[in-house]
Structures are given as C-alpha cells and as structure tokens.
C-alpha cells in the first residue's frame, strides 16, 4: 500500500539521481575546473539561497519576468482570439508571426538597448517578445475551435460581438490558451536569464554571468540547478492554477488493464 503510494514519485527521482550520477562520473573523468562535480556545485545552492543580495537578484528577475508575461497576456490573448474569429485578422497576422517567430529574441537585446536604454524596459521587452508568440498561437487555435452553436445562441440572445469574444470565446478557448501560457512560462524563464547577459544591474543573470566571467563554476552550476528548480516550481504552481481554472475541460482518463 505504502509502495503503491510512492510509486509515481519513483521515476522522476530515478531520472534525477541518474543525471547526478552521470554528472559526477563525467566530472571525475575529465577533471576540469569547468565541470565541478555535483557534490561540490550543490553545496553552493544553500549559500546562494541564504544570501540576501542573491535572493534580491532572483526576485528582481522574477519581477521583470512577471511584468513581461502579464503584458504579453494582455496583448497576445485578444490578438489570438481575434485571429481565430476573423479571417482578415488571421491573414494579416499569420505572415508577420511566421517571420518573427524564428528570430532569437535575446539576440535583439543590443538593438532594443538602443531604443529603450539599459534598464528594466529593454529586458521586459525581450521577455515580452519571447513569450508573445506561443500565447498568440494557442489563443488563435483555441478561438478557432470554439463551437459555433455557442456563438449562435449568444447572438440570438442579443449578445454583441465584443461581448461574445470576452464572455464566450475567451472562456471556451481558455484550456488551449493555458497550454500556451505554460509554454510561455518556460520561455519567459529562458528569456529572463538571456536578457540579462549583455547589460544588467540586478538579476539571476547577474549571478550566472558574473560567476561565469570569473570562472567560479560551482556557483554557475548551482545557479543552473536553481533556475531549473524555479522552472519546476512555477510549472507545478501553474498546473494547480490551470486545474482550478479549467478543470472542467480535463479529460479524466483512467486505464483499465485486462478488462474487455
């Protein structure tokens, strides 16, 4: 009974232990300063997490990421929903998005820096650009898949098009939009770090790149672990939020083995 309860946690634990074992072996094999063993690097994790300045850096990066993502949500969701319900909008935006999508957003940082300076605004714009496209795409797909009957019923009851978009299309497309949000969260984390590579005052990038420039590799790897853990925690929290918001849309699947 106890074993069955803990069984689901076993595969991820094994995967994590496997990565640590491979990392340790590679470190022993190569013996490079640039690849410290996990036993050394992980010792830096509590050091970083108990240092007030480092915690401020981490929180400040997350603040910029939150602003970038919220701005992207405000912009991308209406655009995506509109594209899903309007052929004109889809025809207008689709080619633009296809062109913009493959451009590495962090590589735009030097140019953005020229427009917006070296402060928060340029970093937030890079995060915004990084997360906007998956949000638009998933909002677009969600909006396209809304049942016409719902919209007809609402129209028949006198609901105007903007109200239909806000009160029917948006909630019905929400499960798909939230899939885009989940992708955006990960991309936000990536662009958050890369946006701090060229110019920075505070932030996670401050900790990572400063340590990298000074060859303090145990801190670099500890920060990579912390960023990975942040991604995991944000994903778990987001999945909880998603379940709360759109639990009605989850296909509750159960697999019955051996039955006919």
């Amino acid at each position: 009974m106890v074993l069955r309860r803990f069984l689901p946690a076993l595969p991820p634990l094994l995967a994590f232990a496997g990565i640590l074992a491979i990392w340790e072996l590679l470190s022993l094999y190569f013996g490079l300063d640039g690849l410290p063993p996990p036993s050394v690097a992980l010792r830096q994790v509590p050091v970083i997490l108990t240092d007030p300045q480092s915690l401020f850096d981490i929180v400040d990066s997350l603040r910029r990421m939150a602003i970038g993502i919220v701005l992207a949500l405000v912009f991308a969701i209406p655009v995506g929903l509109w594209m899903g319900r309007s052929r004109f909008a889809a025809a207008f935006f689709n080619p633009l998005l296809s062109v913009i999508y493959p451009v590495p957003k962090a590589a735009l940082m030097p140019i953005i820096m020229l427009w917006l300076g070296v402060g928060d605004a340029s970093k937030i714009l890079v995060i915004f650009l990084g997360v906007t496209l998956p949000l638009i795409y998933h909002s677009y797909q969600g909006s396209r898949a809304v049942e016409e009957k719902l919209l007809w019923s609402a129209a028949a009851m006198g609901m105007q098009p903007p109200a239909r978009l806000a009160r029917i299309v948006l909630p019905a497309a929400l499960p798909e939009i939230l899939v885009g949000c989940r992708t955006a969260l990960v991309l936000g984390l990536i662009t958050m770090v890369t946006s701090e590579m060229i110019a920075r005052q505070t932030g996670i990038g401050n900790l990572v790149f400063q340590s990298l420039e000074m060859g303090i590799y145990d801190t670099v790897y500890a920060m990579i672990v912390i960023i990975g853990a942040l991604g995991f925690i944000l994903d778990v929290l987001f999945e909880r939020l998603r379940g709360w918001l759109v639990g009605w849309a989850e296909p509750a699947q159960s697999i019955i083995v051996g039955s006919t």
Partner: protein, 357 residues
C-alpha cells in the same frame, strides 16, 4: 485489452465566473509588480555609468562604500549598469544610453573611428608596468614543443574575443617572426576562464591567460608562458574610464565630481587592501582566496611568475595618454583601426584624473 474511459465535461457560462476571478487576480499581481518599477523622484542629477569585471577598484568602492564619498548620493547619484564587455558599452554610449563607462583602448578607438563616438578619457583603471606588474600572456602545456612565437605557425591560438585589443601585440610579434597573422594561425575565441582548461585538454595549442586565471593556473602548475604582451608593447593600457563629450560639455561640474570620486576611490582602494579585497569579493561573489595571491602585488623579481602580480594602477587613476597614443598607432599599423587617431582629441582641458576638489 486496454480500454480508455473518458469523462466528457464541457464549458458552461457559470464556469466563466471562475475565469473572471482568475483574471482579476492576474491583473492585481500585474498592477502591484508594475508599481514596484516606478522610479522614485530624484532631486539630484544621476550619471549613468557602465562597468564590467574585473579590476575597476575605484568604481567598486563607489558602488559598495558610497558613504566614503561626500558628493556621491548628495550632489549626484550614479546608476550602475554592468555589461558583458567593453564593446557593448561602446554601443550603449553611442546610443546615448550611458554617460560614462569602462573602455578598452581598442574598443574606444574603434567606436571613435567607425561609429563617430565622441568621448573624453577621464581616468585609467589598470595597465601594465614592466617588469613588476602582471602582463597578459599566452601559455602552453609544459610538454608542448612550442618554445617561442616562431613556433606558433599552424597552431590553434586562443583569444578571449576575436579582434580584442590584446591581439595587436601578438599580431606584431607574429609578423616579426615571419608568420602571417591572417593565414598562418588558427584563432579560436574562448572566454578567459575557459582558456586554461582548453590548453590542458589540447583544444588549444596556445591559450591566453589573464588575472585571476593566470594565478590559478600557475598555482596548479603544468603550463608554461611563451609570450607576454609586455615583451612587444611595454606599459600597455588595459582599461580606462571614458565619458561622452556631450555629457561632459553639458555638465562639466557634474563630470568633475565623478572624476574627483574616481580619483579618491583609487586612492582608497590602494590604501586599504583588506577592505578592497572585501569589496571585490562582494562584487564578484568569489572567495577571497581567488584574489589574495596577487591582488595589488608586484613581482618579487623579473624572474618571478607573472601570475604572482597584479596589473599596475596609478594612485590618482591618471590615464597614460602617451601609452594610449602608442596603442592607437599600433592598432592602426596592424589594420585594426581604419584611421589614425590623436589622443589629444580624447582629453578634456580640465576634467581628467587625478582631480581633487
């Protein structure tokens, strides 16, 4: 036999209220985070300054011990922005995003020659002073057949950044040894911290070592110096402080206050090594053991390892304008600058270190 059972659920209007509550929560978070970014009103002028690592001790003192500077925070403020390197700071200065920043001689000269960047050199952070100071050098493994620059032909040579200022002296040394720097060697870009590992693993035949990596490599052993840039260009200037002409000409008093504090900062740094080491470890988040073996030290003799010493610093942060002029000429001669530059164009009549109130 496996059978999937799926509970069909669907959207209803009532469920929309949960969405609205979620959206309200999201906007509340957004509003509060956006509120945090609002800058507080400032009544004194702010200078936007770019910096990088390492070896900018005067600035590190101003950043971490502002109370030691009577004007800082009272007559003016500094907005410190850390950059990946000097080339990015040239871009930021050219765009008007910075008032002053750390610069290498080559990056500043290229900015002036190619992008029309107009600056005054107001102070110097570090340079070299043969034979007592550290000099950036290229090293090989102890058992390497490479004994001198003439053995570099056909080899893979490490550089921290392609086109970097330290390439100039090596390019000249290669030419003197009958090696074409453009055709006879393979240049590989690798950041300073990775050079030591790259030499030891054979990915580079010759790698370039800077402090603190030279001190670390020498402590470990197994590497041998082949060529130091002081052998070709003695007393090279590594990093200096430059301010945009627009900023200085519009705000001469403000610029003077900043240069006065840079002068004072260098004096404080050199006068109190222990406190400087504390500050440096705060800035770099590195243990003091990384810096202690060489910081502010000079070589005991001309035979002592280069890594036992630090770069040279002027006590008043004075820029070596003659040295900078020689470097302009060197870079022009090896084709790294499109035109000759005159250092007089980079010197303000009054505002340069050492500057005292």
């Amino acid at each position: 036999m496996i059978r999937f059972r799926q509970k069909q659920r669907s959207f209803t209007f009532e469920r929309g209220f949960r969405l609205e509550r979620g959206l309200a929560l999201a906007f509340a978070i957004a509003a509060s985070t956006a509120g945090l970014t609002a800058a507080s009103a400032q009544t004194i002028p702010t200078i936007r300054v770019g910096w990088t690592v390492p070896a900018e001790d005067a600035k590190y003192w101003m950043m971490k011990r502002p109370q030691e500077f009577p004007n800082l925070g009272k007559k003016y403020n500094v907005e410190w922005v850390q950059f990946q390197g000097t080339a990015q700071m040239v871009q930021a200065m050219a765009a008007g995003a910075l008032d002053c920043s750390t610069q290498g001689v080559l990056s500043l000269a290229q900015g002036a020659a190619s992008a029309g960047l107009q600056t005054y050199i107001v102070a110097q952070h570090v340079g070299e002073k043969a034979p007592e100071s550290f000099s950036v050098y290229w090293a090989v493994k102890d058992d390497s057949p490479i004994k001198s620059v003439k053995d570099f032909k056909g080899k893979t040579i490490g550089l921290n950044v392609l086109g970097t200022g330290i390439w100039g002296p090596l390019a000249i040394a290669l030419k003197k040894n009958g090696i074409d720097p453009d055709k006879d060697v393979k240049l590989v870009e690798a950041a300073f911290p990775t050079q030591e590992d790259a030499i030891r693993t054979g990915r580079l035949d010759v790698g370039v070592l800077n402090q603190p990596f030279a001190a670390r490599a020498e402590a470990k052993g197994g590497l041998r110096k082949v060529f130091a840039i002081s052998e070709e260009i003695p007393d090279i200037v590594h990093i200096l402080e430059a301010c945009s002409k627009t900023f200085v000409d519009k705000n001469p008093e403000l610029a003077a206050l900043y240069v006065q504090d840079l002068t004072a900062g260098m004096g404080k740094a050199l006068a109190n090594r222990d406190e400087t080491l504390k500050i440096v470890t705060e800035i770099f988040k590195a243990p003091v053991a990384v810096f202690d073996p060489f910081y502010f030290k000079t070589r005991a003799s001309s035979d002592a390892p280069l890594g036992s010493a630090d770069f040279a610093r002027d006590p008043g942060a004075a820029a070596n304008y003659d040295g900078i002029q020689k470097m302009f000429k060197l870079y022009y001669d090896v084709g790294m600058l499109p035109k000759q530059l005159d250092v007089k164009d980079f010197k303000h009549a009054k505002i340069f270190a050492p500057l005292k109130p």
